[in-house]
């Protein structure tokens, strides 16, 4: 039962990772691409960690995955904020935004 749910969650995470990759490829400017890369990838990584925890079903795995998700939640918003602000300072603007 937990294994089946784990497989499904992992599959969903990979689907979201593909959508994030598609967004990085298709969106028109750096800021939009970063929006795809950061938010969707964070959701995907969290779901994949959850799926891994369900598949392994073992505390030795669960606490490591919890540490991993904590690191991701603490660092990814900071990194994307720094990068987004640097891109904006470098003159990057949203496409169709003629300031």
């Amino acid at each position: 039962m937990t294994a089946t749910v784990g497989w499904l969650v992992c599959g969903l995470a990979l689907l979201i990772l593909l959508i994030a990759a598609l967004g990085v490829y298709r969106l028109p400017d750096a800021l939009s691409r970063q929006h795809a890369a950061t938010k969707a990838a964070t959701l995907s990584l969290t779901l994949f960690a959850l799926g891994t925890a369900l598949l392994a079903w073992d505390w030795a795995w669960t606490w490591r995955l919890l540490v991993l998700v904590t690191i991701l939640f603490a660092t990814l918003p900071l990194a994307s904020h720094a990068l987004g602000r640097a891109a904006a300072d470098a003159g990057e603007r949203e496409r169709g935004d003629d300031r």
Binding site: L17, L18, A20, R33, L45, W61, L83, E92
Partner: protein, 90 residues
């Protein structure tokens, strides 16, 4: 079972193609760093898959290391972009 893991690896490999495309063609430096970010996320997914496939927890420690290294790398590149743009380096 192993076949499903192979499917995971293939799907994650598919996701590297747009990431590599962004890393190689840009057009701006920020775009390249975004591609690198996506590649780090894929690397974390792949190392979790490696942990499941080999049933060893060491690959989870690898994933933590990758997360931290990706963070520091993105911060360093962001600072470089900002300094190049003539902004303050805060």
């Amino acid at each position: 079972m192993t076949l499903l893991f192979m499917l995971f690896v293939v799907v994650a490999g598919l996701a590297t193609v747009p990431g590599l495309h962004r890393l190689l063609v840009g057009p701006t430096l920020a775009d390249r760093v975004i591609g690198l970010d996506l590649l780090f996320a894929i690397a974390i997914v792949l190392s979790l898959t490696a942990a499941l496939l080999s049933q060893r927890t060491v690959f989870l420690d690898v994933a933590m290391g990758l997360a931290v290294v990706g963070f520091v790398a993105t911060l360093a590149w962001a600072r470089l972009i900002q300094l190049r743009a003539g902004g303050d380096s805060e």
